[in-house]
């Protein structure tokens, strides 16, 4: 699609404008290239000059195309005339007493040392800067001097040629001599002695481009040659041959394949672009690009190495379908004014030779060269038979195909993006889950690493309070509060650690209070003490107080229990004796008599309410363990 759009650019706007200089309206072929207003004036003038000639606009299609071209020609003449006028004006306005060639020289000086706004010159100046920034100042000065000298001579020669004193071949010869002389000059002159060969080559190319950009106007399709007639002839010839298709030429091009079609379009586009470029080396590079895309096309369809046997027919096909503007002029211009060594060897030369062959084939095309009977060929040429499978009709058919292909590829693209999005979302989900797990794990690790130290319980301070028992017995409430604490500051693990430290630090700071002797004696009791401290920290005070009161009781009972266990063996016999007596009176013991209460110790946690004072009484009555032991089995029994 882009290719097609680009292709239309080759008609410059100036070509569409009204023929009358200075008029900004568009012209039409029906009005001989004038806009309607100017055309009326033009007719009036014509009728005044020669009233007998009827100047009706051309009607038939063939003459209209001729008129289009003559319009072109007229325009060119006008341009040249105006140029001369400008030059004359310049001569007249200043430097009247200096000889003509010097003035031309001055023109040229102005042309490329100051701002001639043409893009080509601007680009050339950029390349010049690139080339000469690496070299001595003298190199640039000397190069410019040589160029000026040549251009001055050339302008004089072109003037002579316009008066038919010189032929185009003479000009070509002089140009080739200049190229050669200049390259010899670079080899011999000591200004250039320090340059590397590739630098010299670049300078040579620059000189060639510069000269040809400036001389393009006078040397391309000059009036003193018949180039224009030949352009017309080949153009007409190609139009007549528009029925020739790929199969006539035995070349295999898959017209239904969009990429093959694109490559063919690119090749045609490059070929038609050639006309809009001024210098021979750049024109050559257009040809090279054209041929390369043809080769790509061949490689695509052929699969193997492309051969010249297949290449030349396809190039002919491309030339036929592209019908490039001023084809012969371009070829002549390149042959005459491109540095000849470029055309002899190298890629450029090879492809240019191929193009010449293709054009020559088209010019000499006969029924025989297309392997068809002479009468069929004649019928085609006369337009009696219309080919049914021309490139154009194939194109029309394929237009929708192409559109569909584009849509399909767009859909595929969307699909791909959709899938990608889905996958990414899925991934994100996994990442989030993972992150969640990770955070959980980290929190867990940290809890394990830095278990909470007792804080409020004054008896518990000291290292031995940190033991496994703490987390084993951690209550649900304490854990959740812990988590909550962390989720308030969900930054990094370091933070959490700090948090934990700060959490536990008050504990360390808190002044150690004397620990009752009976508690100090048992380590398991100490660690259990951590439990209330934890719950104390996380839950509100009223609850904690209850718990403390409860659990402290419990521990003391347990403590009792252990001491009891130690003495158990000793007193076993005695216990058995008493067993029967104590069992039935259990509730009574519990409620009324403090000394008899000991029996609860082992299951204290299962009994929700135990009077606070029991602890102290119990402790006081450690001495009678046999009673407790005897009591123990009863609740379960």
């Amino acid at each position: 699609m882009n290719v097609l759009k680009k292709a239309s650019l080759r008609i410059e706007e100036a070509d569409l404008k009204c023929n009358k200089l200075g008029c900004t309206y568009y012209g039409t072929p029906q009005c001989e290239g004038f806009c309607s207003k100017c055309y009326r004036e033009h007719l009036q003038v014509k009728q005044l000059v020669n009233p007998t000639i009827h100047t009706a606009p051309a009607q038939s299609s063939q003459s209209s195309y001729k008129s289009l071209f003559s319009n072109f020609e007229r325009k060119k003449q006008q341009q040249q005339q105006s140029q001369k006028n400008i030059k004359l004006l310049k001569f007249g306005s200043f430097r009247k007493n200096i000889e003509k060639t010097d003035d031309l020289h001055l023109d040229l000086m102005q042309a490329f040392s100051f701002s001639d706004s043409s893009n080509e010159l601007l680009r050339l100046r950029e390349t010049a800067q690139l080339i000469f920034c690496e070299t001595d100042q003298n190199v640039e000065t000397d190069t410019n001097k040589c160029v000026h000298k040549y251009l001055r001579k050339m302008y004089a020669d072109v003037d002579a040629a316009n008066k038919f004193k010189l032929s185009i071949d003479d000009l070509s010869m002089k140009t080739q001599n200049f190229y050669q002389a200049f390259s010899k000059h670079m080899d011999t002159n000591k200004i250039y002695a320090d340059l590397r060969p590739e630098q010299k080559e670049r300078i040579l190319e620059y000189v060639e481009k510069l000269c040809m950009t400036l001389l393009h106007q006078v040397l391309f399709c000059p009036l003193f040659t018949n180039d224009e007639e030949m352009d017309l002839a080949i153009q007409k010839r190609i139009r007549q041959l528009n029925w020739v298709n790929a199969s006539h030429l035995d070349c295999h091009i898959d017209e239904m394949n969009p990429s093959a079609r694109d490559l063919a379009f690119i090749a045609m586009l490059e070929l038609t672009n050639m006309d809009s470029i001024k210098t021979p080396p750049d024109k050559l590079s257009c040809i090279v690009k054209c041929c390369k895309s043809i080769f790509k096309l061949l490689q695509q369809t052929g699969g193997g190495p492309a051969s010249a046997d297949e290449f030349l027919p396809l190039l002919i096909f491309v030339v036929l379908k592209a019908n490039p503007a001023r084809l012969k002029s371009n070829i002549h211009y390149i042959t005459r004014f491109c540095n000849a060594y470029r055309l002899m060897t190298g890629e450029d030369g090879y492809y240019f030779t191929n193009l010449c062959c293709a054009v020559s084939f088209i010019e000499n095309l006969t029924a025989e060269s297309l392997n068809m009977p002479a009468d069929e060929f004649e019928n085609y040429m006369n337009g009696d038979v219309v080919s049914t499978s021309t490139w154009e009709s194939a194109l029309v058919i394929c237009e929708n195909m192409q559109l569909m292909c584009e849509h399909l590829s767009m859909l595929a693209n969307f699909n791909e993006r959709h899938d990608k999005l889905f996958n990414e979302a899925e991934e994100l989900k996994l990442q989030m889950l993972h992150f969640k797990e990770e955070v959980k794990q980290q929190v867990h690790d940290i809890i394990e690493k830095y278990p909470l130290e007792p804080k409020r319980n004054p008896r518990m301070c000291g290292e031995n309070s940190i033991s496994d028992v703490v987390h084993v017995t951690q209550t649900e409430s304490s854990e959740s509060s812990f988590l909550f604490n962390f989720s308030d500051k969900p930054s990094s693990s370091k933070n959490k650690t700090e948090d934990l430290i700060s959490f536990s630090s008050p504990n360390k700071v808190c002044p150690p209070t004397p620990i009752p002797k009976h508690l100090q004696s048992n380590s398991s009791l100490c660690s259990l003490g951590g439990e209330f401290d934890l719950s104390d920290h996380s839950t509100d005070n009223s609850q904690t107080d209850d718990l403390i009161s409860f659990t402290s009781n419990d521990f003391s009972i347990e403590h009792n229990d252990e001491t009891v266990a130690r003495r158990l063996e000793n007193d076993e016999a005695e216990t058995k004796k008493c067993e029967n007596e104590t069992a039935p009176t259990e509730p009574a013991v519990k409620v009324n008599s403090v000394p008899e209460y000991r029996g609860f110790s082992s299951q204290g946690s299962n009994i929700p309410s135990i009077p606070c004072d029991t602890g102290s009484t119990l402790l006081a009555n450690v001495q009678s363990p046999h009673i407790k032991n005897s009591y123990f089995p009863l609740p379960y029994g």
Partner: protein, 213 residues
């Protein structure tokens, strides 16, 4: 010109001619494909065959122009010949007609190139022994009569392909050293890339004959 680093001192232009389907392109491909393994890959594409070889201690860049062999293009492909230092004339050992056309190819080559152009005759597809249509001796005799170098080669197996191209280059190089080949002539097909200044050869003969089209 392409290939800025002058790792070679000469450029020889070769053309490959012969009927359609004798395997010109395959020979070219077989010969130049090696450059993908050894030389840098970003020189010139496959389509335009170039390879740098070593002959007598000199690095020589071969530029090989493949040509279309169809009969109907014969009239227009003459411009290929201009300035060829070497011409590889190919026939197919399994198709007699391609051999029979050799004399007309030879006439074209003689007429369109300069006398010092080295012509090398290659009988391609030597691997297809059971389908042989042209005897080695017959072709050898033809080559001797016309002063051509001759070898039977196979683009498929690579047999003798390298030799054909290199031998041609050796012969051309010999011509240069003998002074039979004028480096300064445009049509010599040889460019000397100056590593030493003062020997640059550019076109001498200036009004370039406009191409035959």
């Amino acid at each position: 010109m392409s290939a800025p680093p002058y790792s070679y001192s000469y450029i020889f232009k070769y053309i490959i001619i012969g009927d359609m389907g004798v395997g010109k392109s395959c020979l070219l491909h077989q010969f130049t494909e090696k450059k993908f393994m050894s030389d840098c890959p970003h020189t010139i594409g496959v389509e335009f065959g170039t390879r740098i070889i070593d002959v007598c201690g000199q690095k020589i860049k071969l530029q090989i122009w493949d040509t279309a062999g169809q009969e109907r293009f014969r009239a227009v492909t003459r411009s290929y010949y201009r300035g060829a230092a070497g011409a590889l004339m190919v026939y197919d050992t399994t198709r007699r007609t391609t051999y029979n056309h050799l004399s007309s190819w030879l006439t074209d080559t003689r007429n369109l190139t300069n006398p010092s152009t080295v012509i090398f005759l290659i009988g391609n597809k030597s691997d297809l022994k059971d389908q042989r249509d042209v005897a080695y001796e017959e072709a050898k005799q033809f080559a001797d009569e016309n002063g051509l170098m001759f070898v039977e080669a196979s683009a498929k197996t690579g047999d003798n392909v390298e030799e054909a191209f290199v031998e041609t280059a050796k012969k051309i190089f010999q011509c240069i050293q003998d002074g039979r080949l004028d480096l300064n002539a445009t049509e010599s097909g040889v460019q000397h890339k100056p590593s030493q200044p003062g020997r640059q050869t550019l076109t001498d003969q200036s009004p370039k004959p406009s191409c035959s089209c």
